[in-house]
Amino acid sequence: MIRWLFWGIIVAILCVLPRFLGDYTLYVVSLTYVYVTVAIGLNLTLGYANQVSLCHASFFGIGAYTMGLLLAQGWSFWLILPLSGIFAGLFGAVIGFPALKWKDHYLALITIAINIITFFVMMQESWLTGGPTGVSGITRPSIGSLSFTSDINYYYLLLVLFILAILASIWIVNSKWGRAFRAIGLNELAARGHGISSFNYKLLAFAVGAFFAGVGGGLFAPLLRYISPDAFTFFISLEFLIMIVIGGMGRIEGPIIGAIIVVMGPEVLRMAEAAYLIVYSLILILVMLFMRGGLVIVLDRLREAIPARIGSRR
């Protein structure tokens, strides 16, 4: 009950947030929602099923380009959004095949290579992707008379989909799929022993993870109203990885905390001007040295500590 109240308050705060934010801050929060969606996907692939993916920026990019290019063809946003996810998911399933054979650093390298190749395709195949110029003039959707063109309205759209993404991830984690992912992640042989088809579930882990990233991409394109290959480099994949590791892998809260830190971190540190990238890198090292389980562990301890105090007062 208290838990529901807590989440209700959070959602209420997020709903009234735009009233208190400037244009730019609103944009940063919107961007955080998009990145959380992608990070949730990576968390399913890597955090739960333990399949390293360093090409989530490719999935993200496929979603964004699907949206940008099909919108230009006059398709409806509401039709393209699921398509963005599905295209990315199908691509993810294909990428999943190498994962059947390799693990850890080899899989990391394969996915890095895939990211770099998709980046070059986006750069060079101008007939399809617009090349380095990218796709501009991307429009925002509307339902009937309700238009999401303004930043605030699009914020609310993103908020709704953000909450849906979190609920979906909770549902997946607690479903048969989620249990299978964790079983494979912990011990593949044992999972097989229990009759879990590692073949199907590994592909599925990639496909589902990529689906979330694709949907994230589909939401990203109208947010920026412009996409170019630079937004989907291997370094962006690393950012997603950093998000879930800082936040806490294999935890629902992990990608949320991580995305907030990674997207908003440079904004908070902007007082240091050009130095923020240094501070940001330093934080990365410090978290790895002293808070390896991710920041979610701090939350856990707080959660444990607070009721204990209340209890002792009684």
Binding site: D104, A113, I116, L282, M288, R292
Partner: protein, 290 residues
């Protein structure tokens, strides 16, 4: 044919540079399962050190070179003692992320502390082109190839023949067994980090006249060396060298005969092909790990 030889020289002179940086990767991986994403920055920092000593302070070449290698060694030592030693128990991913942080820290640190500009570095060797019939080549490329080869051969002999080198090999094969044999594994790992930095420092001095000195060159060299290490074989020093040469040659020949537009992507496709056909790398040995 002249064309072919020309491209060969170009490709090898680049490739051997990638190779020498990749050797460091391989050494780190073998002895401590460290994937160092800051490898490129370990080349970048000595480049600036060399400029500081040789150009700004006008110290003659050889003393600057020795001091640069010394500085690199100290950097490697600190890198291991302050970071890697604490992170090793956390596994590969933790190290990957921490070294990414290190890479950013050094890169932007150098930019703020010194300059965002690219700095000049003079040629080390004569640049008067040598003509042999149709083939024109530059002494710089040939010297680079010869000198780096000598360094690699010396390194190889040290690892194969000296006691310390054998201890290194023992640690690479099995840390537990090495410990039982009375080898101080900690010291060996520290030593490898120092060695890696010194190698990177050497590469820096050869690379500086070719690339000039810029704070963001590390990403470029780091990724190339990384790919070279995988293509050649992550668990063999020979592999790193073969990988480096393969990458250098593939880039050059693909750009000359296929298209320049996909120069960098072509190397990645090669990487995928190698990983799919022979994941242990061209000369690598199968590990149980995958």
């Amino acid at each position: 044919m002249a064309n072919f030889i020309q491209l060969l020289i170009g490709g090898v002179s680049m490739g051997i540079l990638y190779g020498v940086v990749a050797i460091g990767f391989v050494l780190l991986w073998q002895t401590s399962q460290t994937i160092n994403f800051g490898q490129g920055e370990l080349v970048m920092v000595p480049m600036f050190l060399m400029v500081a000593l040789h150009i700004v302070l006008k110290i003659p070449f050889w003393p600057s070179f020795v001091l640069t290698l010394l500085g690199s060694g100290i950097m490697g030592y600190l890198f291991e003692r302050l970071m890697i030693r604490k992170l090793l128990p956390g596994g590969v991913l933790v190290i990957v992320i921490a070294t990414l942080g290190l890479s950013g820290f050094l890169r932007y640190g150098m930019q703020i502390a010194w300059t965002p500009q690219t700095l000049f570095f003079p040629h080390l060797f004569s640049t008067k082109p040598i003509e042999l019939g149709d083939i024109i080549f530059s002494p710089e490329d040939i010297w680079n190839i010869v000198l780096i080869s000598v360094i690699i051969i010396v390194l190889h002999l040290c690892i194969k023949r000296t006691k310390l080198g054998m201890a290194m090999q023992a640690v690479a094969q099995s840390r537990e067994t090495a410990e039982l044999m009375g080898i101080n594994v900690r010291h060996i790992i520290t030593l490898v980090f120092v060695l890696n930095s010194v190698l990177a420092g050497t590469a820096a001095v050869f690379a500086a006249p070719i690339f000039f000195v810029r704070y963001d060159i590390g990403i470029f060299l780091g990724v190339k060396a990384f790919v070279a290490a995988i293509i050649g074989g992550f668990n063999q020093i020979r592999g790193a060298l073969v990988g480096g040469l393969t990458v250098g040659l593939a880039e050059t020949f693909a750009a000359a005969y296929i298209t320049t537009a996909y120069r960098d992507a072509f190397v990645m496709i090669l990487l995928l092909v190698v990983l799919l056909i022979k994941p242990e790398g061209i000369v690598g040995i199968k590990e149980e790990a995958y």
